[in-house]
Amino acid sequence: MPRFFFNIDSERPDTEGVELADSKKARGEAIRAAGEMLRDIDGHLTAKDWVMVVKDEGGEFVLELRFSVREAAAP
């Protein structure tokens, strides 16, 4: 099975990767994992975007997920 790497900005790089059937499965896993990780952040998200980049074994770009926050200025 091909191996995919899931890198999150501001975290140690994923050097291990995960074996998944294809890029469609990698896409589903990435979205699900992102939801779980955002849940664990538990409100502590800074103004900076939360970004996950998925690459394949050859280092080719597969997918990017970006979650950004925009809020009213503090009164």
Partner: protein, 253 residues
Amino acid sequence: MSPEADGAPASKQPLHALLARKLNNFDVVTETEVGVLEKAIRGTRSFEANQDMVSADDRPSYSSILVEGWAARSKTLENGARQITAIHVPGDFIDLHSFLLRKMDHSVVALSACRIAAMPHDRLRAISEEQPHLTRLLWLNTLVDAAIHRNWIVAMGRLSAESQMAQLVCELYVRLASVDLARDYEFEFPLTQPVVADVLGLSLVHVNRTLREIRGLKLISWRSRMVKILDWERLVEFAQFDPTYLSLRREPR
């Protein structure tokens, strides 16, 4: 099928020894009671990894004591997604509840090569009629199973993935050590990452990342099926692990 494939130290003990050892953690098990357990066992069965040991909708005529290997209670959904709701290690009664529930509402699957000792339900009925203290210990055994479920629900619902995984490692170590199957903060862990994902209810990608985090914090190491706890005190604190729910205190029951 090779019963010795798992290589658990349990293989050299009599079939009832680990269960007696486990119940003895709750309260003193008398020699008579140990003898009753021994005589209630009728034969063994072996299973290969990934084989169903008891299937949902089955109506077993006996309950199984796990003697070697690791097993899981699980439910599989229509879309193929699986949730593991309990992990069983040697000494556990993997389906004592089938004695009274009759029809299984979930499956028990072998996570590694397993061997069980079968205790026919008519023997369990006789124990419940003739051995009130032993019956209470078996009752407590199922209560502790339920307490473990409760703890898993809390961890799944409210803990971060890192703490949830750390808690699983703490729990398994304490359970294995309580029946002398682990010591020195090290134990054989025959699960793959996809199985751990089914235990924690998390995606494989998140489990993989969580493991990297915990290793990075120097809390545990995990290689070639061995988990080593590098700093027990810190792991316990990180996991918010409190072993009270395992009832490992010998007192009159």
